[in-house]
Symmetry: C2
Subunit: 498 residues, 2 copies
């Protein structure tokens, strides 16, 4: 038998000359044992003999045997040789009849376990884009303008200090000085009422919603989102097993009526400062009504204040949270639009009685860290770099917005309507009801222009308005007219088809 | 009426002299409108008159009126004055009778909405620690030894390049060169078979499990975890609505029998290289049996390879993933133990057919970013700093482990047993069945020593072994004997009680 192994190995080893002898021999012997060609109790050739058969150094064979022994495939009995171990199951496997048993190769794998139902739903409704930068990517600020030198200066200061406690897992809630700085910043800029203990650092809106949903909603609970709404929220909800109900927005914001009011949700997610993606501001009357409804029916409200810092005419409205006296509003924001999305630092400001649960839940479910990044962020905020960067960006984005609108007007006059307040990082170009905005975006993408179909932001297809969500913040003014021309050519071609 | 407002405001403003007049006036007027003391249509005093009544600058009053107008509380009719707006509900709120309606203050809030059922369960079983560094914190490496200079050098290089595409949201899967580098590194060190497309970057084990569970399990599905197991997994599962079944481990690892084998789970989570927290290695026979069982019954396996790189005698066993030919194993790891936990960079290596779904799900559910950190990490890995750091740490941790064992022996001889292979960052000090390991840890924490009760790692109390999980990696040898003396005094006091 020993000789047979040697010959068989010799055959195989000649075939694959690129691989080092050690790895080849190890792989082939292991495979033979796993496949049962070398059964339990079989004796391996002596290292001396096998080395001669294969024309390899004896040490190579010894090392392979040792490795196989360490891994439990073989055992060496001193003076008697090396024997294959019994690696079969130590308890009988209770197998139900299985249809495809011939081999565990790719075919068997294809008929193996599958995605979960919610996993398949998620895969069939993906919203993220493969590209995340360029004209007219929505939701992305001008990251090239980020004051990297200031950031590096502070970053190097913190790395040089290298406090061990900042390199370990984070205590719950995040880096305390950042929580303090945010409490002050949001109080001054967004009329958010809080103390530092109510501020919990997150990795962004997605994590904020994910944690809120687990803390506040059980599987099967109803959640209201705006119709239309940010696509990312929907999939998060569905993957958490919730019933998602879209509540239409009008010029004053979310507008629940009749049937919906009779079935209160556990949680209401709104964008009061700048509706996403349509861009209106929720009126004060609507805010009061929403808060009162929530108070009476025991609903939580999550206020997604994603880009309220960018408003180009008039002052921004204060947050909904600042009006909340019953402790129902979870205020969520991030530095993604103010600074850059890749930073992945966000925050929630929660009612007093949720402060402990939120901090604990983030710590428990996600094991926080990145305290160095948070410490850099805290200093960056306290030293005023966020404020001065936003001031610069505000005038830059206002100019880009004006430039895009001018391009639209130059091409279409008033034939296509522009939707959205003078605010934020995007606008919506409304299209006729008959337009196929999905097809337009697909074709535009092939020509290097990103746009999101407005219809894809709706839960119910029959409610879907047609249009294009166009981000302008990241596009230099010089590029806007040409990029829009490319897009407009696609629009015109597609509109002629419909 | 105007005079009345002026007088009333005067009264109030005198009471709180610390607040600037502008903010005070704004706050009081807004409050009066919200509470209905200034009803719809009420005319505010002229700015001139109110300024005189309150002895403030007229400009202050004008600014407050303007702010209130921007926010929709009042409107100015040119030449006629400033009037309170109708901020009541624009549609009748359909209120069910509510018990506590008197005021929306703290009392009402206390009877408002509550945490979800799963939120309450999560809050009642928190496992994370408020402190994350010091003797004998388990699961934390010696972060003070991290080669920060090398890291900063690479980090500054990438920040100086400041490629905009690294500052935006990440495309799905993570930074491609890091995926490539990891595929090679894990192939060489852990016998993980993959190409770069199968590697998906995560923020750590928690995120890996969270995504796996949503992609692979529906609400109510059964998941097997080891008994005992890492506490963090349990809460993640429960918050995702899964049925968690603990399968006892023996000297060879997870050992499902009888009843359990008849009820196959959707997902099996194991720590084959170094069982957490008990420290044994899963035998080859057990690995083969597990893979075969999973193949026959359509189960997925998640291999949590959390600290396998630290083994102080003999070579580490290759990964379970490397044995998997049916494409059932999701291999998960992170740099938390190799480098530092606060980095929050982890990875999964998934079977070919899950590569797309995993990359998409992480992108969709969490909106990735931190590509700069990932690009630094890629270079740090490729330049060999991970390998050389681990080599240094291996001998350091081996010495610390030996030192802790020596302290145990010096105090207890063989009276208390040490559990766990010569590997990892912690060991388990076994205690008698009658010991109250929870009380010991609580008292030790008050004396500045962290230890985790072994019993808290079990799902079923009747199975719980008693002991202390002690991390030694982050504790300098010079500190170990004294820290252990403090702990041992607590142990002895508590054991006398039991």
């Amino acid at each position: 038998m020993s000789v047979a192994i040697g010959e068989w190995l010799q055959q195989w080893m000649q075939k694959r000359s690129g691989e080092p002898a050690y790895r080849q021999l190890y792989r082939l012997l292991r495979q033979a044992i796993l496949e049962g060609r070398l059964g339990p109790g079989a004796r391996l050739p002596s290292s001396r003999q096998l080395a001669a058969d294969l024309s390899v150094a004896r040490n190579t064979v010894l090392q392979v045997y040792e490795q196989l022994a360490v891994e439990g495939y073989v055992s060496a009995a001193t003076g008697r040789g090396t024997f294959v171990e019994d690696i079969s199951h130590d308890l009988p496997v209770r197998a139900r009849p299985v249809e495809h048993r011939q081999g565990a190769g790719p075919r068997a794998a294809a008929s193996g376990p599958r995605l979960s139902e919610r996993g398949r739903r998620l895969m069939s409704s993906l919203g993220y884009s493969d590209r995340q930068y360029g004209a007219f990517m929505a939701g992305v600020p001008d990251v090239s303008a980020f004051p990297a030198r200031q950031w590096m200066r502070i970053q190097n200061r913190h790395w040089r200090m290298m406090r061990p406690e900042l390199l370990s897992y984070a205590p719950s809630g995040g880096y305390p000085p950042l929580r303090q700085a945010l409490s002050e910043h949001l109080g001054a800029t967004r009329s958010v009422t809080s103390h530092a203990g109510q501020v919990v650092i997150t990795s962004g809106i997605h994590q904020a919603i994910d944690v809120a949903v687990r803390l506040l909603c059980d599987v099967g609970d109803r959640v209201w989102i705006e119709e239309p709404a940010y696509w990312g929220i929907r999939n998060l909800m569905v993957s958490q097993g919730l019933e998602v109900v879209g509540i239409p927005v009008d010029a004053q914001g979310i507008n629940p009526r009749g049937h919906d009011l009779l079935h209160p949700p556990r949680l209401i997610i709104v964008t009061p400062s700048h509706q996403y993606p349509l861009g209106m501001v929720m009126s004060l009357a609507r805010r009061r009504r929403l808060l009162e409804y929530a108070r009476q029916h025991g609903c939580w409200i999550l206020e997604d204040d994603y880009d309220s810092d960018f408003r180009y005419g008039g002052r921004p409205l204060p947050s909904l949270q600042g009006l909340d006296e019953a402790g129902l509003v979870i205020y969520a924001g991030s530095f993604s639009k103010m600074l850059f999305p890749g930073l992945r630092v966000g925050y929630v400001v929660v009612p007093e009685r949720l402060a402990g649960p939120f901090a604990s839940a983030v710590a428990e479910l996600f094991r926080e860290g990145q305290l160095i990044t948070q410490s850099v962020m805290a200093d960056f905020l306290r030293e005023g770099h966020v404020t001065s960067h936003m001031r610069k960006m505000r005038s830059r984005y206002a100019a880009r917005r004006a430039c895009l609108i001018e391009s639209v007007h130059a091409r279409y006059g008033t034939a296509l309507r522009i939707v959205g307040d003078k605010a934020g990082l995007h606008l919506v170009l409304a299209l006729p009801r008959t337009a196929d905005d999905v097809a337009i975006c697909r074709t535009a993408y092939q020509r290097g222009i990103m746009a999101r179909p407005l219809s894809s932001y709706y839960l119910l297809p029959e409610r879907a308005q047609k249009g294009l969500v166009l981000g302008y913040a990241g596009v230099p003014e010089a590029d806007i007219p040409n990029a829009f021309t490319v897009l407009a050519d696609v629009i015109d071609t597609e509109l002629r088809k419909s």
